[in-house]
Structure formats: C-alpha cells, structure tokens
C-alpha cells in the first residue's frame, strides 16, 4: 500500500513502489486528466503538478515521490464551477482539436503562469516546447496562455 496526497485528499493505493504515477492516477484513482501518451517523457500528455512543479507522471514511479508530495491533476486544478484561469482561457480560445494533449498543455501552462505571471510569447513557446500537439493547435495554446496571463480578457 502506498499513501498519496492527490488533489488535496489523502488516498492509499495497492500498488508496488515501482509503479508509475500515471497508472495509479488513471487506473487506481480513476482520474482522467493525466493521459498516457508516449510513455517516454517526450510528449507531455501525462503532466501533473507535484509540489507545484510540472512533472511527467509517466516517468515518475511512486518511489520517487517525497513522502508528503502534493499531487495535483487537471481535475484538481479547477472545476467547471471554479475553473483555473487557463482552463477558462482554453475554452474561450477554443484551443483544442482532439483534446488528448490538452491536459499537458494546461498543466504545463499553469505551472508557467504560477512562476511567471506575465510570460512573453517566446517564454511560452520555450516552456511548452516539450508538450506536443499533433493536431497543430500550438498557436491557439499560446493565445490561451496569453489570455490567462491577461486575466482572461
């Protein structure tokens, strides 16, 4: 059994310490936000926040987590009733095609905004560069991050 703090709640899961966080979040805890993409840390679809940092959950075994690590997934970032500004901005900019990369884009972008509230376009592109979108929505994603940085307008 492993104990985790996920989206502000303590949970315990029956998984080996070597189990990758993405499987625990998706299959044990039935969270849909983090997506299993390339499985190699190259696409960013599985991104979650661990202690406010954007982390690839497909590269993170449970054993690599600090004992009281705070894990936040897309579900914990915001809700339809209380959306994170970047979630609202993704809707306003319609910055989605298939939506499979969207989790990673929002989690990476939210971590960027937390550290750098007014990023330049170059900073956004650089910080998001390891998050891949095959549909070609990158320009809209940049606009969504810019919109959130402006306070949603």
């Amino acid at each position: 059994m492993a104990s985790l703090n996920v989206n502000g709640r303590s949970v315990s899961v029956d998984a080996d310490p070597g189990t990758l966080l993405v499987y625990v979040l998706r299959n044990d805890l039935a969270l849909n936000g983090p997506k299993l993409g390339c499985g190699s840390g190259l696409c960013g679809a599985c991104t979650v926040h661990v202690d406010d940092r954007a982390v690839r959950s497909c590269q993170t075994p449970l054993s690599a987590l600090a004992p009281n690590a705070r894990i936040v997934t897309l579900e914990g970032l915001g809700t339809p009733e209380r959306p994170h500004p970047l979630q609202a901005a993704f809707i306003a900019e319609q910055a989605v095609q298939c939506g499979y990369c969207t989790n990673g884009m929002i989690m990476e972008g939210a971590a960027l905004l937390a550290a750098t509230p007014r990023p330049s376009e170059a900073q956004i592109r650089q910080q998001m560069n390891a998050n891949l979108c095959r549909c070609g929505c990158q320009q809209r994603v940049v606009r969504a991050v810019q919109r959130a940085a402006r306070g949603g307008v």
Binding site: N32, T73, C135, G136
Partner: protein, 750 residues
C-alpha cells in the same frame, strides 16, 4: 477517493435504453419497410443508405429530441457541427438535443468518417431529415389550429400559432410516426434564415476535455475490467515458432496468456503488469524471421522496379494549344510518413453469451464490425461497435486493429471487459503508414506563358486499405491467426477523388493532360490513409512544378498562376492570400549563397479537385550553414462554400498547415530488414512549439454555396508554399520530402 461507481459503460447502457424506450423501437428498426422514393429530387447518398426518418431523428412524448449520426468525433468538431445543423433545422436549442453518434445498434450506417466528407454528406442528410421532421410536426399544429404551416413559429421545440396557440413537439409527436422514409422534397432553411449554422458555436466537447472529465476511450473503466497487451513479432513477416506461455502466466497479475497462431497476447489485472508480461513473452518467444523488406533495396529503387506495378492512364484531356516555347520535366519524392497520434490506439471489448461489444475510436463502426466478424468468424449481428473518442488519428491508424486485439484477448475471459491501449512505439511500428511516393511531371509552356500540355505520373503504394473495403479482412492481427483471414486486395480509389492519384489532375487550365498511376499493391510496409491520401504530395509536386515553369518562363509565380487559372473561386483565394502576405512580384533565380536566405512562396490547391479551395503563402528562412529551414509565417485564404462553423474551419486550416509543415520539413520513416524503426518522438519527431509558424487565416464566406469538406484542404498548399519559399529564397530546388538539413545542403551545393 475511489473508482467512480458509475462508469461510462453503464451510463452509455442507460442512455441506450433511454433512446430505445423513447422511440418504442428495437434495434434494426431502420431496415423495416425502408424504400427510397423513385424519381423526384436527387436523394442524398446517406439518405439513400439510411432512408428511414427515425434513423436520423426521434421525438419522445416528453419533448426530448434525439438525433443520430453515423459520423464520429475524431477531434475536428464534427459532433458540434451535427448539433448545429440539427438544431437549426428543428428549431431546438442545440444544448437540448440528445445526440447519438457511431453505434452499430443505434445510428445510421454512414461508413467511415473520413475524406472531409462528414459535413458534405453527413450534415446534408441529417439536415434534410431534421427539416422533414420539423415540417411534419408543424403540420400537426397547423391542422389542429386550422392555420397555414407558414404562420407557425417554432422556438426551442415549442410551436406557436398566429393567435398565440402553443403546442410542444412532444405533444405533436404522439399523433404522427417518423417510422417512414425521409421526404427528400423537404426544404431546408435558406442561408438568410439560418441562426446557428454559420456561427462559431463553441465546440461542445471542449469543456469536458479541459476539466478532465470522462471523454476518451482510454478513460472507460467498467467494473471488473482487465488489461490486455500484445506480444509483437520482431518483424512484420516473422511468424511464431515457439513460446513458453506457462512462464508468462506465472508473472504477477497475469490472468490469461492467449496464443492463436502467431497472435500472442496477455490479459492481466493491472495495465503495467500486462505490458511487462507482453514484453517478456515477445522476448522469450522464438520467431521465424521473414524475408527482408523491399528485398533489401532502397525504397525508391524498389518502387520504380517493382514487378507487380500496375500502370494505368487514369485521366486524359486533349485540346488545341499553341506550340510550346519551352518544356520541362521534374521528379519529386516523398518518404513514408506516420499518423503519430499523441494517444496510441485503444479499444475495450467484452464477450457475453457469445455476443461481442467493442468500444472503439474507429472512424467507421459499421465497417469495423464487418471485418471483426470475418476475423472472429461470427455473424456480424453478434457484434456491436460503439464509438468512443480517441486521440486525433489523421487517417487510418491502429484504431481498428486494436479493436480486434481487444476482442481476441477478451474472448479468453468471457464476461470480463478487456481494455487494450497500445504503446506509442507499438502504434508507430504496427499502424499503417502514409505511402512513400514518386512523382514525375512534364509540361510545355507557350511564348505567352500559357500551359500547353501537362503530364503527371505517380508511383505509390495504396492509400486506402481500411476495414470494410473488400472481400478480405483489413485488421492486422487477422493475418497472424492460426486460421488467418487475408487482407483484401488493395485497389486505387477512382478519380475524381482518387487515392494515390488524388489531386494529380491539374487545377490549371491546360489543353492537353495525362495522369498515369503506377500502383504498387504489395505492401512490405503496410500503407493506408494518412490525411489527404496522395493529395498532399501530388498537389505539392504540381505546385513545385508550377514555380519551376514560372521561373523557366521568366514570370513571377503569382502572375504565372493567374495566367493559367480559369476557376474564379481558385483565383479569389489566391488573390486574397497574396494580398494578406504583401506579396512582392519577382522571378525566382539562383542567388549567391548568403548565411541566411529568406523567401516567400505560394501553394494553391482544391482538395480532391472537388472540395475546399485553399491558397497559402509561406515565408521561410534558410540557414545555409546548417541547412535548417524555419517557417516564419503562413498566410492562408480558404473557401469552403457555406462554413457551418467558421472558427472550426479556421482551427482545421491552421492545424492542417502546422501538421503539413512538420511533414514537409522533418518526418520520414526508417526501417531495418524487418520493421519500422522510427517509432518514438525521438526517432520520428513532430512539430513542436518552436517549429510551429505564426499563422494568419481567413475565410471567404459564400453563404449560398454548398458546404465543402474542410478538414484536409490546407496541408497540400502549406507544404507547397514552404517548398516554393525555399526555392524562392535560394533559387535551388529540394526535391525530396522531408526537406531535411542534409537535403537542403545538398541542393545548395548544386
């Protein structure tokens, strides 16, 4: 936190029950007494295939309106478009419609959602059916109130008479039956009366995707679900000699190990356990290696010398032309390219009492069902395929194949749903690829820059080997079973749409034309539909060639095109795109090499010669030391006729351009003797933020013109514009896609 008690599967089951109950009908309803009317107006193809009105729309006594589409969401906003169209014609608020999509038990059979046809064919049929339903319901109120139908307004399913009488659709539904053929004379609203069609209605699926709600097939978790994984051969032609199933069955969590011929897989309690067991099984198994791919030859050598090539002249035109003042020929090449979805293919399957239910992100639930029946050797009526969204597929990827994998594994654990989610590397190695291609073009140009003759030869493997397309079974694992079912014989899609020869017919006015296909039906590396099929590379080739002809004639690329265009809509998008870009006329010439060379180029296409018109101007910078090409800007103008959702069209145009920039500059398959080796984002990199250009796109709105397919219109002109911008910058032609730094440097050295 625990697993949510209510899974999507059970919710869907509830929804299914609700629909059936609302209609008071059983599965198979749409085939009863379905006869298309004889004579009269043209019957839309999807209505001909699904003539019954209640196959498309049903009204329950409580007023609930259910619309059904055989089209599926593949990340392009099609379910939003269908909702807009149905809401418009029915006068029901879009968010109040209950929309069912892609379910072999419930929806019309519309084949495959592909080829930019969902709007053109699918929405046309659904719109007509909804217009018929509205007229029928209004007729009930008109008779009851003894007024003309035209005197009745409808607001969100409430009919309102001239004296303020009110009747809901639900009330009216009780006195009519929609179990009859669609009246194809029903009149749809003219564009001037449309209030929802033509607006950028927000995508209905985006909020759920932004908040991490259950949307994707990968998120389905029915109670008792197990995980499956496949132990893959080391090469496509390899066959299994021996495997130690018992050793793998003893691994942690493993529930079953399945062998059927050379198909080898495992079922386990946890996803990571299934994957570990499948890897161990594949490694410990003994495989007989097959013959080397392409006989060990280079791909383009193989294509030009293949003994089984089928050569046919697909198109000719003959006319009077002035003598050619100059002629030119060129050859271009394109490497294998992949769909490379961010999410690998996934399926969920469950056998119960000899019946199979499969949840799949297939583009064609009905064709998939037909091929599953062949592979599993059960009647198709014993199988139900239900669509659930996957990651963007961009054509025929592993979506269908993994459905058979899940069904084969689930058969070993009846009553237990089994989910199989391929690894990304597995997808890249085992999905069908977009074909390598060779094009050879010749043309003559008159003294006044008029095209006199044009030939286009193309060498290609098949571009459509989808399930349901022939007598065989086009699901990969079927070929590896102890009792295998061979694939269908691959065939070219006839022109005008074409497959390998798609967009090989010139868009310019040329008196003498010939298109010849050298079709290679045997696929050492399996190929199928990658977005646009052959259209991208044929149109890129034509547009590269046009710029070379312009240079040969001493003309500016824009002026040369305008001199040879007769289609006003084509001309309009071209003029608009160059205007946006601030085009400066100049003749392309060889320039002395400088460290950085910047140029702009044009790409122009009409997808399939039938669908959207798109013109793109690209500005690129070439680093002549490294050979690296950077796309700085892309400007595009698009004409899709009536744009049902303008922002949705722009999203597709921009996305298509970004994807095409990636194909054009960096994507190529690599393989060893037996199998693809470009299988991850390191060995097969795709566009990232740094490689995504700034894009500006506009629509030329034509509200009264029929809607044209928009999902695949921008790739070819974007690729061509990039190619021509490199040409304009340097005066040298790079002839092989992708334009890697090595190939750019080689061209600069000429």
């Amino acid at each position: 936190m625990t697993t949510r008690p209510e899974t999507t599967v059970s919710r869907r089951a509830f929804a299914v029950g609700a629909v059936s109950a609302a209609a008071g009908l059983t599965i198979g309803f749409r085939w009863a007494s379905a006869q298309a009317p004889q004579g009269g107006p043209a019957v839309p193809p999807m209505i001909r295939a699904n003539p019954q009105l209640d196959a498309w729309v049903r009204i329950a006594p409580d007023g609930r309106v259910t619309v059904m589409t055989g089209r599926v969401e593949i990340g392009q906003g099609m379910l939003t478009v269908m909702r807009q169209v149905a809401a418009e014609e029915l006068d029901v608020a879009p968010d109040r419609l209950f929309l069912v999509s892609g379910d072999t038990a419930l929806t019309p059979n519309e084949g495959t959602t592909a080829g930019s046809l969902a709007v053109k064919l699918g929405s046309t049929a659904l719109g007509l059916a909804c217009a018929d339903a509205r007229a029928t319901l209004v007729g009930v109120a008109a008779a009851a109130w003894n007024v003309q139908a035209g005197q009745i307004k409808v607001e969100d399913g409430q009919m309102i008479g001239p004296a303020g009488q009110r009747m809901s659709y639900g009330d009216a539904a009780g006195s009519i039956s929609l179990s009859r053929p669609v009246d194809v004379t029903a009149r749809r609203k003219p564009a001037s009366q449309q209030r929802i069609i033509g607006t950028s209605y927000p995508r209905v699926d985006i909020p759920a995707k932004v908040f991490g709600q259950q949307v994707f097939i990968h998120d389905l978790r029915p109670d008792g679900m197990l995980f499956g994984a496949i132990a893959r051969p080391p090469a496509y032609a390899a066959r299994l000699a021996a495997a130690d199933l018992a050793a793998v069955k003893a691994m942690p969590g493993v529930v079953e190990v399945v062998r059927d011929g050379s198909f080898l897989g495992v079922v386990a309690r946890r996803e990571e356990q299934a994957q570990a067991a499948a890897i161990a099984l594949a490694r410990s198994a003994k495989w007989d290696a097959g013959a080397p791919l392409f006989g060990g030859k280079g791909i383009f050598d193989h294509m030009l010398t293949a003994a089984d090539a089928e050569t046919s002249v697909l198109h000719t035109a003959k006319g009077d032309a002035p003598a050619a003042a100059a002629t030119r020929q060129a050859e271009y090449r394109r490497h294998f390219q992949a769909h490379a979805s961010i999410g690998a293919s996934c399926a969920l399957a469950e056998w119960k009492d000899g019946r199979l239910t499969v949840w799949s992100h297939t583009q064609g639930p009905f064709p998939l069902r037909a091929d599953l029946a062949k592979a599993l050797k059960v009647p198709r009526e014993a199988i139900r395929v239900i669509h659930a969204q996957g990651a963007g597929c961009y054509g025929h990827n592993g979506a269908d194949d993994v459905a058979l994998d899940a069904a084969l594994l689930a058969r070993a654990v009846p009553g237990r749903p089994v989910r199989v989610h391929w690894a990304h590397e597995e997808e890249m190695a085992w999905e069908p690829w977009g074909s390598a291609m060779i094009t050879r073009l010749t043309a003559g140009v008159s003294a006044t820059a008029g095209l006199t003759a044009w030939t286009h030869d193309v060498w290609s493997f098949p571009h459509s080997t989808r399930p349901g397309s022939g007598s065989g079974c086009d699901l990969r694992s079927a070929w590896y079973l102890a009792d295998p079912v061979a694939p269908s014989k691959a065939a070219e899609i006839p022109l005008p749409t074409g497959g390998a020869a798609r967009n090989a017919v010139p868009i310019y006015a040329v008196p003498n034309q010939a298109v010849t296909l050298h079709f290679l039906p045997t696929m050492p590396i399996r190929t199928s539909a990658l977005r646009t099929l052959g259209g991208y590379f044929n149109a890129v080739s034509s547009e590269m060639f046009i710029d070379e002809l312009a240079a040969m004639s001493g003309r500016d690329p824009l002026a040369f095109r305008l001199a040879n265009i007769r289609d006003q809509r084509l001309e309009a998008v071209l003029r608009r795109a160059v205007e946006m870009s601030g085009w400066t006329p100049r003749v392309v010439v060889r320039r002395p090499i400088e460290p950085e060379m910047v140029g702009t180029g044009i790409g122009l296409s009409r997808y399939k010669n039938l669908e959207s018109y798109v013109a793109v101007v690209a500005e690129v910078s070439v680093d002549t030391k490294s050979g690296a090409v950077r796309v700085l800007r892309l400007w595009s103008a698009t004409d899709v006729g009536r744009a049902i959702n303008p922002d949705g069209v722009i999203n597709q145009v921009d996305g298509g351009m970004a994807q095409a920039a990636s194909w054009t500059l960096q994507e190529a398959g690599r393989w060893d003797a037996g199998i693809m080796k470009a299988v991850d984002y390191a060995s097969y990199p795709i566009q990232d933020f740094s490689a995504t250009p700034l894009m500006s796109s506009v629509l030329i709105d034509r509200p009264e013109a029929p809607s044209l397919g928009a999902g695949e219109g921008s790739q070819a002109p974007a690729g061509a514009a990039i190619a021509n911008a490199i040409y304009a910058a340097t005066g040298r032609r790079v002839t092989e896609v992708p334009f890697t730094p090595e190939r750019v440097l080689a061209a600069l050295a000429t």
